[in-house]
């Protein structure tokens, strides 16, 4: 069945030789919403970049039932929507419309189809009518939601987000959490926001120094004070 993430013994070293991922294995079933937590430098972002083929390490990464190979990378990038930490990195066009349209246009779609998708994606994140706005003038919360829309426009089966609530004020955070709650896709979210983890994600994976040190029900993990302290996590 589709919508799965299946990582087996993933190893990756940075260009200068330091190991970033040391044998990471995890499986995410369709429709699951999973949190990925760990201290800075633990390899969260590096792992995420492997999930749509931007980085290629040793070991196997299967997404939606298919191992990532050169031939299927373009298809995988449409199926796995990656939302990065800094929305300014993803909103690189002059208007919101163009940014959200970027994915569909590069998938080769017709103009009318592109427009339809843009409308749908913006509606899904609550940003209807923002097509003509300039990214530079949006608030952080608005930028984050538009960034998610840029990925939703490609109709992905899986969403992977890196620190989606960082830098948001309480209202923006509340809006984003509520958005994530309503999106139907399989989800993997890297975050430091433990309260959001408790609220949204029934399962949590803990990563530290490139290795998975815990993977299980969130409530269990949060009760394990030793574990939390050992890996610099606080609720």
């Amino acid at each position: 069945m589709h919508h799965t993430i299946d990582v087996k013994e993933l190893h990756y070293r940075y260009p200068d030789g330091t190991p970033a991922l040391r044998g990471v294995s995890l499986y995410i079933a369709p429709g699951q919403k999973v949190a990925l937590v760990g201290p800075n430098g633990s390899g969260k972002s590096t792992l995420i970049l492997h999930l749509n083929g931007i980085l290629r390490g040793e070991g196997e990464v299967c997404v939606c039932g298919k191992p990532i190979r050169d031939e299927n990378v373009p298809a995988i990038r449409a199926q796995v929507g990656l939302v990065f930490q800094d929305p300014d990195d993803q909103l690189f066009s002059h208007r919101v419309f163009e940014d959200v349209a970027f994915g569909p246009v590069h998938l080769g779609m017709e103009e009318s189809e592109v427009r339809r998708r843009v409308g749908q994606a913006l509606a899904a994140v609550g940003m209807e009518g923002f097509e003509d706005r300039v990214p530079h003038h949006l608030s952080m919360g608005e930028k984050r939601r538009v960034a998610i829309a840029t990925v939703l426009a490609m109709d992905p089966e899986i969403l992977v987000l890196d620190e989606p609530t960082a830098g948001l004020d309480p209202r923006g955070r509340r809006e984003l959490i509520s958005l994530l709650q309503h999106l139907p896709q399989t989800m993997l979210v890297a975050t430091h926001d433990m309260r959001m983890v408790a609220e949204l994600f029934p399962r949590t994976i803990v990563i530290d120094e490139g290795q998975i040190v815990a993977d299980g029900p969130t409530a269990e993990l949060f009760g394990n004070e030793q574990l939390l302290a050992a890996h610099g996590l606080e609720i």
């Binding site: 373009p74 690189f92 970027f102 590069h106 990214p135």
Partner: protein, 261 residues
């Protein structure tokens, strides 16, 4: 703090704003070409061209003297032409007191002509950027056969200028918060200050390099494979062709005047 570099564009509801960006770009370039090609001393032609510029400014709901006033910026360069009235041969019309340098009539005519040409050409540029958003100008350039890659590069640059300028401003502010007075006996040496500025530049470069890497990854994630594709944005309407024709006629008048002589 926001570095507001969109200063140039002034949103208005005007006939000119609504025109196809290709028309505005072509008309601006033709205007500048006409102006620059005018021989020295064609005062009537210059006057007509100025009226055309005022008319365009007025039609754009910017106020007729919008561009006229702002054309000052080009003037510092006029110093380059300053020697001309003194060096060009011809009957002397005025002699400078004390040093006795003579100003010749042809020299003066030439100097003033250069001044006027520059003033007019700058007005055309100001009106273009005030009535047309930069992304639209860029699109018009790409349609007029400027290499698409270059246009994309400029587009990206425009997008990230604000962010990087903000970072530069933050660095400058942090520096002034930490620096002793810039003048006076206890100030740090020129060399040290220069090196500090250099290090700020270097660190801004690294941040830019890293950001470009992240932008590239974001582009890859949305299907980018080396060619930036754009949707067709504008279609020439009847009003656009009419405007083009009108501009052509208007510009032909000063040229005709000049040829008659």
């Amino acid at each position: 703090m926001h570095f507001d570099l969109t200063d140039a564009y002034r949103p208005r509801k005007s006939a000119i704003h609504r025109l196809d960006p290709r028309v505005k770009l072509v008309v601006a370039l033709l205007y500048i070409l006409t102006t620059v090609a005018m021989p020295d001393g064609e005062w009537e032609a210059f006057g007509l061209l100025q009226i055309v510029a005022l008319a365009f400014a007025w039609r754009s709901n910017l106020g007729p003297f919008y561009a006229f006033r702002r054309a000052f910026i080009a003037l510092p360069f006029i110093l380059a032409a300053l020697p001309i009235p003194f060096l060009m041969p011809g009957p002397t019309v005025w002699t400078m007191p004390v040093v006795g340098w003579g100003v010749s009539a042809p020299g003066l005519v030439r100097f003033l002509s250069i001044l006027l040409r520059t003033w007019l050409a700058v007005q055309a540029g100001i009106l273009l950027s005030a009535t047309t958003r930069l992304p639209e100008i860029l699109w018009a350039l790409s349609v007029l056969r400027v290499p698409a890659t270059l246009v994309s590069i400029i587009g990206f640059m425009y997008r990230y200028i604000f962010i990087l300028a903000d970072e530069a401003v933050r660095m400058l502010r942090a520096r002034s918060a930490r620096s002793p007075k810039a003048t006076g006996p206890s100030r740090p040496s020129l060399l040290w200050q220069g090196r500090m500025a250099g290090m700020m530049v270097g660190s801004l470069f690294l941040r830019s390099l890293e950001r470009s890497e992240r932008v590239y990854e974001a582009m890859l994630s949305r299907g980018y494979a080396g060619q930036v594709r754009m949707l067709q944005a504008f279609h020439m309407g009847r009003g656009d062709w009419l405007a083009l024709l009108m501009a052509g006629v208007l510009l032909a008048v000063p040229v005709g005047l000049m040829l008659i002589r």
